[in-house]
Structures are given as C-alpha cells and as structure tokens.
Symmetry: C3
Subunit: 113 residues, 3 copies
C-alpha cells in the first residue's frame, strides 16, 4: 500500500496516509489561554483532516497532552464543544511538558479516511 | 470501511473499531494501591476487548502511564501476571500525571479483532 | 489477519506485525549523552524495522519522549540527521520520566511494511 505525506518538513510530516488511515503529527497552537490554544489546536486537526479528505467524525483515537492538569476542565470545555458527540474518538489525556514553554496543549490523532 | 464505537459519552468512546483494529480509550481504575488499580485497569481492558470480540492475546500495542516511576515494579508485577506470555504486545511506559490525583496507572491499547 | 511478534519477552514484544503495519515497542538506548542515546535508540528502531522487512522511510507515526525538554535540540539534531527527509513520519515529542533514570530518550514508532 502506498504512503502519502502532507505538510512535510525535513523533521516530520503533518499528515501521513496509509491503508485508509491518517496519522497526524501532534498539533499545537498559539494563544495566551488554554481555551485559545485548544481552539487553535483543534482547528489545526480539522485542517489536516480536511486536507486528506476526512473529518473529526472519523477520528479513531486521540492523545491529548496538557502541561498542567489544573487546565483539564478548561481544555475539555473546548474539546466537548468541538467533538462530534455522535462519533467521539477513543482518547487519553496526560500531563507533560511540551516542546516549548508557550505550549499548553497538544493533540495527536489517528483517523479513518 | 465502517467505524463502530462503543461506550460512547459526549467526550469520547471507550472502544472504536475500524479496519479489523480496535482502539481503546485510556483505561483507569479505582483502588488505594498501584496493584489494585492496575488490576482494575487491566480488567477494564479485558472487558472492552471482549465487547468487540477480541482478547488480550491480540493486543498490538500498549501505552502505559504511571504517576510515579517508583511504582514501575509494582505495576509490572500485575502486568506480567496478566499479559499472554505467548502473545505480548509492543509496549512503552512513561511517567505522567493523570486526569485526577487518585489515578496512579492508565493503559491505552490497540488490538486486532 | 495473522499477528506476528518478534523480540518477545514475557512482558512485551519488540515488534508486532498486523495488517501491513508494524508496531514497535518504545526503544531506549545506552550512553552518557542525549546524542549517544538518541543514536542508539534510532539504531534500534532501524534494526527492528529491518527485521520485519521495512525501513525508516515507511514510518507512519513516531512518539518521542525525552526526560528534559532542555535536550530537545540535541535529540532533534540526531533525529534530523537520521530521518528520511523525503519521507518523514508524523511525530509528537513530550517530556516524561522513563523506566530508569539512566534513560534520557525513548521513541515508539508505527510503520508500514
């Protein structure tokens, strides 16, 4: 089966398609608040899913990292308003420091196409 | 290919089936000790795998998070007694704070059906 | 579909093959520096991918953990020299304590075969 890669840099791809599944890179976003960042993170997820011809309704699995578990409710408020409630993915959320101190939220998803 | 979701809330599904593979949500468990929690976590994994017609012998990959790496041996003692030694999954285990302070162990798996 | 497992211990497999995809265990490496460890980690990834008949050019997704985000640039220098720049995977990198204090870097990948 072929592999198609989009949003390539020399380090990583933003989306890799193989066997009817797309694997996205961890998405981050700018913004001063967890709310603002989560919105941009999820907009980035939407953008890459659209680029490969799918949508959030087809997400299979999501890994969420937040830098401070005290932000769990704030992140979830944005997540809950965004996710397709008829078709939510499997998900895990853990606390972790991210690539730069500005980032408060990162989301990595696998979706069907 | 169709997507089947089980254990749906408005936030996530506990099991998502696509293309002969099931993606489980991160499973947690109650209990005062790492031993008790790990047993419940793995019983939850078993339960969701059974719901979709598979078992621990078909787990492809597992991600384990524990809140304190000092608990690594205690978690592993329960894991080692549970895993099918003829058919163990690929696995990674890292330390991370989890959704609530009570949780000491979380496990997320992908399995063949 | 059959499942083939390689590098089996009673706890985990180093590589699990199913449906044209291989799931590797989290790979670690020895060495006093992040550079030395990252080289060994990625050599281990190469070794297991070769064992199942594939290569780094077919990696779909990679999760990288480092114990101190201050090592991000040092890890990336080794990663960037190693990755196939025409075929980079989707990737996420977060900070986490690993199984033993000696380990500074761990990488888990999923690849097409």
């Amino acid at each position: 089966m072929s592999i198609n890669r989009m949003g390539k840099s020399a380090r990583m791809s933003q989306a890799v398609v193989h066997g009817g599944v797309v694997y996205l890179a961890g998405q981050v976003g700018k913004g001063d608040s967890v709310t603002a960042q989560t919105r941009e993170v999820l907009a980035n997820v939407d953008k890459w899913l659209a680029e490969v011809g799918t949508s959030k309704s087809n997400i299979l699995s999501a890994t969420v990292w937040i830098t401070d578990m005290a932000d769990f409710a704030e992140m979830n408020a944005v997540w809950d308003a965004w996710v397709d409630p008829a078709n939510p993915p499997a998900r895990a959320c853990t606390e972790a420091a991210l690539a730069t101190p500005e980032y408060k939220v990162e989301v990595m998803v696998t979706a069907a196409i």
